[in-house]
Subunit: 349 residues, 4 copies
Amino acid sequence: MVIVMKENCPKRQVGEVLAVIRQYDLNPRIISPAPRVIVGVVEDLDKKLFDQLTRAVSEMEGVDAVEMFGTSWKLVSRSFRPERTTINVAGQVIGGREQAVIAGPCAVESLENILEIAASVKEAGATFLRGGAFKPRTSPYSFRGLGEEGLKYLAEASRLTGLPVVTEVITRRDLPLVAEYAGILQIGARNMQNFALLEAVGELDKPVLLKRGLMATVKELLLSAEYILAKGNSQVILCERGIRTFEKETRNTLDISAVPLLKQLSHLPVIVDPSHAVGKRELVPAVALAAIAAGADGLMIEVHPDPDYALSDGRQSMTLEAFRDLMRLVGSVREAVCDAYNSGGVLCP
Amino acid sequence: MVIVMKENCPKRQVGEVLAVIRQYDLNPRIISPAPRVIVGVVEDLDKKLFDQLTRAVSEMEGVDAVEMFGTSWKLVSRSFRPERTTINVAGQVIGGREQAVIAGPCAVESLENILEIAASVKEAGATFLRGGAFKPRTSPYSFRGLGEEGLKYLAEASRLTGLPVVTEVITRRDLPLVAEYAGILQIGARNMQNFALLEAVGELDKPVLLKRGLMATVKELLLSAEYILAKGNSQVILCERGIRTFEKETRNTLDISAVPLLKQLSHLPVIVDPSHAVGKRELVPAVALAAIAAGADGLMIEVHPDPDYALSDGRQSMTLEAFRDLMRLVGSVREAVCDAYNSGGVLCP
Amino acid sequence: MVIVMKENCPKRQVGEVLAVIRQYDLNPRIISPAPRVIVGVVEDLDKKLFDQLTRAVSEMEGVDAVEMFGTSWKLVSRSFRPERTTINVAGQVIGGREQAVIAGPCAVESLENILEIAASVKEAGATFLRGGAFKPRTSPYSFRGLGEEGLKYLAEASRLTGLPVVTEVITRRDLPLVAEYAGILQIGARNMQNFALLEAVGELDKPVLLKRGLMATVKELLLSAEYILAKGNSQVILCERGIRTFEKETRNTLDISAVPLLKQLSHLPVIVDPSHAVGKRELVPAVALAAIAAGADGLMIEVHPDPDYALSDGRQSMTLEAFRDLMRLVGSVREAVCDAYNSGGVLCP
Amino acid sequence: MVIVMKENCPKRQVGEVLAVIRQYDLNPRIISPAPRVIVGVVEDLDKKLFDQLTRAVSEMEGVDAVEMFGTSWKLVSRSFRPERTTINVAGQVIGGREQAVIAGPCAVESLENILEIAASVKEAGATFLRGGAFKPRTSPYSFRGLGEEGLKYLAEASRLTGLPVVTEVITRRDLPLVAEYAGILQIGARNMQNFALLEAVGELDKPVLLKRGLMATVKELLLSAEYILAKGNSQVILCERGIRTFEKETRNTLDISAVPLLKQLSHLPVIVDPSHAVGKRELVPAVALAAIAAGADGLMIEVHPDPDYALSDGRQSMTLEAFRDLMRLVGSVREAVCDAYNSGGVLCP
């Protein structure tokens, strides 16, 4: 809900509108400053409460107009755009009939290593190549990736296999460089609320894979996506990758219900990263299949030819053989559910 | 790991063993009291640490023997019983090739109501009938179920449809009564650590469905199951039903990776209750399919002919029509994964 | 809010009332069954929403009366009883001007051990003696306490020192035995929603210390207390002891703001158990002082003469010397804030 | 623990070292790349495990040296710098005998508004003025602060009162501008792992207030501080401001035990922001006193002359009167505990 104030109305009148809204236990916010203040109410209001609030506010001094916009986000919403968004990168589609599969190592380690992995995952059925060249690390003393050299290796692997590259950008300063090499720019979980970076990728004409933060709600993920769309870039893929909970047997807890929930609320494609979610390679296949069955448009999976010797995240990387076996099952499960997710029936709230 | 002390060894010697173990940041516990004290170390120890600790402890005064038992649970463990447990109730199997589906209302409301639901869910493919006659309620002023009358209605519905009844028992006092009517006794999430109740059902010869507590770890769930098996009843079904997290768009957060994790650690069958996990009926189907794809042996789903008028949990109950549609999809997904879960391949860590 | 239906009104009319209430995204519940159904709405309603809902419901068929009762609990509420409850056990007061301090070992280990501890903590300023004779344990193989023997040791320690005993009861069956020895009956965190046990202690004339569950919200704690008061026992002490979160450096996370929140909502006294909350003895003193500064009426602290050799919870038990030092500081902090908490000023919302 | 490899040793040898370390269930990381690889093990190792691992690794091919550095952070650690850090900004000290109090509005709204607040909080005893000019906002449509104009208003308020300014910087691009006006640069919770921003403030000679992320562990907070110190800026103040949990009665859950824990692990000063932690102004005073009693070096509190009409965070802002009352109590509690926190006794683990 949006309340548009009259131009140059006294600040006190704005304050009075805020105070009235707060009486309903709502949390109004200033969407647009003076001289023409706009007040937003981003909580979901049912019809009754909306009518009641409209009555209460519309007669107040200084109020020019009251409008419904339903939810706190707009451009990402299915009410704004009923048809589903599909994203096409060099012929590979995310959000279409076939699942997208982004596979590769956590970090690019060497040219030989990435070439071997790229060839293998392509053969197994992957449609995109992942690999980190710039890595955000909790400790300042950890390996932070090969930088531009890593990007060049990814480019070479992409040239040889035809798989577009998905790689992370962690600062606005690196963005022009990374964007030159990436088919899809990844915004990592730690940067989900780095609003300056979101706006910067929003100004490009390049798909963005936005990962959910460890402690971010589904609504916060959508609001972060809204930052990108609001700058003009509507090619955003949402990625569920596990949230932080009390359970410590797995690295994080994959929020599987976020998949249908995001698809109910938004037209954007949704993929799942089971590797970071569970953190143990032997659990990745079952969770990957669950994601597809829940309606995810694709998967992002860490694969390494020799995981125990990987420079990063070895514990959660699948072997090439296991990945190949998994891909066959992914196809069968997708087959079993795909029509139902497109038919408008019980799977399409 | 278990350290057996000599009979009647001085208490101080036990204390010294405890102190040494604590130096490894482990939390030893007295498994068995004097005169023959047994000290247990329930944390998982890798081979190296086990050897090191064995060396440190085995020469100490008062120590008689040091033995590995691997994990803090024993009877529920796959190392104890490699083959999977299947549970057969009047011809309906849980843990076998076909998925089990337990469906019905949250609370039994009336005879007509339960008869209508039972007939419908059976026709749609359910294999068990659920319904609460004794309901644990957060507030003392809420409807707590019809009690024995509700059990009788369930029995009548079961007689007419052939579906065995799954119903909750909430106190030891009610146990004989509930056990008379139930095919499977349900222990609810709030009672997962009601150890007296666990031991009481452990003394019966009747299958038990044990729900994971809202804030219980996977290991704690297994330890609670161990209470039941330790009393002699090995017919236990584990049920993941969502854990409490910061995300509030769904009632709870279904921990989908608990399914393969439980099956990796234990031989007991595992089912999933998507209704309580998500709390919104339109999200139940996608999450139910995810559970099957993740290898769950079955589902527990709330169904009501007229959910908006249900006396309890209406928001999360599916209509009979939606349930029927879902059942068809459940079969297809099960078909797609069932062999792979039984073949010893990538889905069977 | 409470909607009283007409006697023997048709079930359909009740259903229609439920459906209307649900349109406001509220979750109505049946407080009292037919023939005279009472529907409760336990969510907090502001004045406006209450009026609106009253209008919507009061003209409906079958509705006899609509009444406000403000919150989902009644007897524990400050609106129900504005003056604070104080509890007096053999001259020791909880909820008065002086802080109450319950100290002792996790588990009673032997007569000598408990006598030594009791004498020391009394000298240091403790006002109650704690000690577990019946211990709930996550694993069936852990030491579960000395049982009645432990109770007798506690009684002897109490006789010699004059400190009333606080000890846990874990089943309804043990209740008569434990009640014979205990000055205050403790309901542990795992049993906070063992409603049968709550009702059983609610029927006694004996103070109850109710610990917040690991997974319980503040509102759920108050609703569990309401179970006890609803049966006639109003001598309830609420105990915050840490909740389960993602942070693993401490055993749990003490929710310090629960102290002023509980005192704002309820007239019952509130104490804090820093030992179980933090799980590391060196952090207990700072957190204990924080609890007093936040307005807690007392503390529950684990103390052991030789914590590294304790049979249970040694890591979090303070030494007798450290406890003595802490007691002096507790007195100073209490002195600094006590008047302000009783004056009706900024600390008394 | 740090393993230094020989220069130009083959990559396979590094891999073998990683594999051996992983057998202890540790997570090794590459601290420094080829040609002279350094492998770090950041988990805490007790003496025994350290010795064992040293033996296992030191004879391996390619290993040059094995060194202990104790923890994953170094510069922030108390073992690295035993004496406590104090920070002096224009005569106001954080980490000294007196508590520091940073008070002011969430967002700077106008010149008059900030002048009024600054004068009042100074009179009440605040030692720093806070106020947001650049605000990170979850929604792209919310008010994001007055920008440079807001900084100028803060500067004017500071000039008139003598209170140094604490204000947030949200991007590296704004840093030079914000640093010109700020006495202390605040890094907000959402940016705690914006490593590029941390390194940028690490290169300045200006104190930094680092807020704990909503989802960050205590160890992660320390590692983020390490990023700043590693760049040469050792004037860092740590700020606990509540973590995200399942409890929704308060905005977040203040982790009070983080205060003594941070002071045990690090020499850096620690302050607490009760306003963001609890989100309800009536609970702020009790929690503020708790923080002081737990040993915090100061407080950060939101104050507004007319909170219900505040443009941002009105629900949690205290009135000027309430703040004045609180300050008196803060002084009394500090008085009661200050000596004990400096004496090396029970409060100083």
